[in-house]
Symmetry: C2
Subunit: 339 residues, 2 copies
Amino acid sequence: MTKSRIALDVMGGDHAPGALLEGALLATKREERALSPDSILLVGDEVAIQAWFDANGGNPGFPVQHASEVIEMDESPAKALRAKRDSSIGGCVKAIRAGDAGALVCMGNTGACVGASTLGLGTLEGVRRPGIAITLRMTGHPVTMLDMGANIASKPEHLLQYGVMGSVFMRDLFDVKEARVGLLNIGEEPSKGTDLCKDSHALLADSGLNFVGNVEGPDIFRSAADVVVTDGYTGNITLKLMEGLSGFLMKTVVTEIQAHKADWSGDVIGALQRNTDYSEYGGALLLGVNGTVVIGHGRSDGTAVSNALDLAGRALQADVNAHIVEGCAAFASGKESAS
Amino acid sequence: MTKSRIALDVMGGDHAPGALLEGALLATKREERALSPDSILLVGDEVAIQAWFDANGGNPGFPVQHASEVIEMDESPAKALRAKRDSSIGGCVKAIRAGDAGALVCMGNTGACVGASTLGLGTLEGVRRPGIAITLRMTGHPVTMLDMGANIASKPEHLLQYGVMGSVFMRDLFDVKEARVGLLNIGEEPSKGTDLCKDSHALLADSGLNFVGNVEGPDIFRSAADVVVTDGYTGNITLKLMEGLSGFLMKTVVTEIQAHKADWSGDVIGALQRNTDYSEYGGALLLGVNGTVVIGHGRSDGTAVSNALDLAGRALQADVNAHIVEGCAAFASGKESAS
C-alpha cells in the first residue's frame, strides 16, 4: 500500500506551503482518478502544515512527515543538499527509501530535486543517466521531450536510453504503441549536427526503436514524433525558451484582445500578427564575412524581401563591417589561441 | 556607387522569382529609406526576370546579372555549390567580389548562402567565424541573437567575437550604446552549463564588453540583454523552435478568436490560456531513477500541484519503472561502451 503513496514536498516552490496543500486537497477531489488523503504523504514543517489546515477546514487525513529545513529556489543544489540534512526534498527521498512512498512530487529547486533523487534513489537497473521528461500537450497530440536538464554531459548511449524510456512512458501513460522517436537536430540528414547528434542518430537508427530520424522545431508542433530526445543542455535551453516565448506571446494576445473588446472587429488578428510575427525582421545578417550578407526565410513574401533589402542597405550605410574589424581588434583577448 | 548596391538572389526561396521581384519593387516605394532601382542588382535567370516584369508593369531600371542555375531549398549545400557553378547565389557573391555590389540578400538555401559567402568572400580581418545574427523585435526592444547556425563547432573565442559583432551591430543599426551582452545558458551562475559555456563566460567577463552574464529563455523576452550569444547548434535549434512554437500558438489564437467572433465574451482568453498553457502538464518526470519523481515549476498553483500528483499516481499505477528496466534490457545496443 505505502508503495503507491506519493510523498509531496510541501515546502518547495514559490507559493509553498499554501499552493502545495491546496493541490493535495484538489487531488482528493478530482472527478477522474481522485486520490485518497492516505495516499499523499505531506513532507515539511509540521507546524506550518497544521497552521494551514487550521485555517482551511482541517486535515482530511493526509499523513505528515516532519522536515525542519527547506532548500530555497535560488540555492546552489549541491551546497544546499550537503548543508541541509533535514530538508523537505530530502525527506521525500527518505520516504521512498524507507518504503513509505513510491513516488515524490516537488515544485521546489529543480537541481536539488534531481540531485537528491539521483543520489538517494540511484538509477533503475540498466539505466545510465536519469532524464527529465516533459510532455507537451498543446497540440492535442502529446509529445514527450527529454532530457530537459538532468544530464548536461550527455552521450549517445544516454540519448538512446532516453528514446527507450520515453517510448515506455508514452505507451504506459498515453497508450501510444511503438512511439515514434525523433532526435532534435538542425536538419533532416543523418550527417547533420554535432558529433553527439551524428553518433546518437547511428545508435538510434540501429536500436529497434521506432526511430523517425532528426526532427526540428516546427516538427514538434506538427506532431511528427511522439518522443523527442536531446541532451540536457539543449533540452533545458529549449524548455526555458518555449516558456519565455509562450508567456510573452500569450500576454501580448491578452493585451490585444482586451484592447479590442469594446470595438470587436477582425482587426485584432491583424494587430496580433503584426505584433508577434517573428519573421517581421525580414532577414538575418551573416556577420563576419567580408561583405554584407542578409539571409531570409524561404517562405518570404515581397514585404519580407523589401525588409531584408532595407536591412542590407542600412548595414552598408552604417559601415557595420568596418566597425566589426575595429571591434575585433579592440576586444582581441581570444586572439592568442588557435582558431 | 556600386559598392552600395545590393545583389538580390532572385531565384532563391519558396516563392521565387515573384516574391523577390515584388520585394525589390516594394523596396523602391518604401516611405522611409526607399532604395533606387539602380541600387538593387537582380541576379538570376534573365528570361524569367524579364517575363515577370512584362506581366507586372515593366522593369523600372533594376540592373540584371544573369545566372543560369538555381540551388534548390532541399539540396545539400556543399554538393550543390560544387555542381552548380553558375547559381544565382554564387552570382551574388561574384558581384561583391567584382565590386559590382557591397551586399547580398538571399531567401534561398541557407547553407548554400553561408557556404558561398564564407568561401567566396572570406571573413573580415580579425574575424574567425561568421555568425548568423537574428534580431527579435517582438517585445518592442530589439534583441540580437547569434550564432543561429553558421558555425556548429563553436569555440569560446568565436562566442566572444559574436559578442563584439553583435554589440557593433546594435550600436550601428539600433543606436544601442554599449549593448548588454548575455550568454545563453541554463542558469545564472558562471559555473553553469557546458565547458563551452564556462570558458566563454570567463572570456566574455574579461573582455571589456558590457557582459551581463548568463541569460535564460525568459530573460530574452524581458529584454535583459541586447545581444545574446550562443553556439550555432544551440542557436539553430532555438530559432526553429521559436518559429514552430510561435506559428503554432498564433494559429491557435486565430482559430479561437474566429470561433468566438459571433459571441464575443471574456471566455476567449480563458479558452486560449487553457489551449496554450504549456505548464498545464503539471510536472516533469525524472525518468530513470529508482522511484517515481515528478518535478514541477516553482510558480505552480494548486491545480498544477494536483496535476503533478495525478501524473505521479498514474506513473506508479502503470508501473512505468518496471517497464523501463525491461526496455533498457531489450534495447541495450549502447551497453558495451563505458558510460
